[in-house]
Chain length 111, copies 2
Amino acid sequence: MAMFVAMNRFRVIKEEAGAFEERWIGRDSQLHKVPGFVTFSLLKGPEREDHILYASHTIWRSPQDFEAWTQSEAFRTAHGGSGSSKPLTLGHPEFEGFEAVGGAERGEQPA
Amino acid sequence: MAMFVAMNRFRVIKEEAGAFEERWIGRDSQLHKVPGFVTFSLLKGPEREDHILYASHTIWRSPQDFEAWTQSEAFRTAHGGSGSSKPLTLGHPEFEGFEAVGGAERGEQPA
């Protein structure tokens, strides 16, 4: 089962959580047309001392599909500025890429 | 789109990565029978100075389904010792739970 998870972790300023969610939910990433794209979720994680952890969580068919997208015109367009310069996060997002090495689905015995 | 992602992050000692993967892939978690379970993946992430980041990544239909599982007999059985006491990780795993606040799937316009 090949699968690649691309995760960007954002430390979002608590008062800006609503604006952060809107920015993501409102954008048209064009991802749904990209070869190898499986699913995207914006995830809201634990609240910590001075921020809320959010993660953009994208599943790809393979690391190669993800790589190809990061080098595409569609990627540059999707990351070409949000129309707002007010900082909503503490620092930059932290990227983590993961490859699936095993798994199981509903109703299925683990491999 | 309700969805809950339960993630445990492990800092795995580099030399023990093979043993760590085997321990996970070989176990019978019984998860596939649990109400609200959607999918489980063992994810291998970036290699860092003294460890490799792994994440156990489980998708649930809702936070309530996840909570119910953590209080079940099946959970206690699944976490009842691995048959080996050799440490494969640096410290304890770090748990993070996430709720989906937006998303899109292949071939679908974002909501």
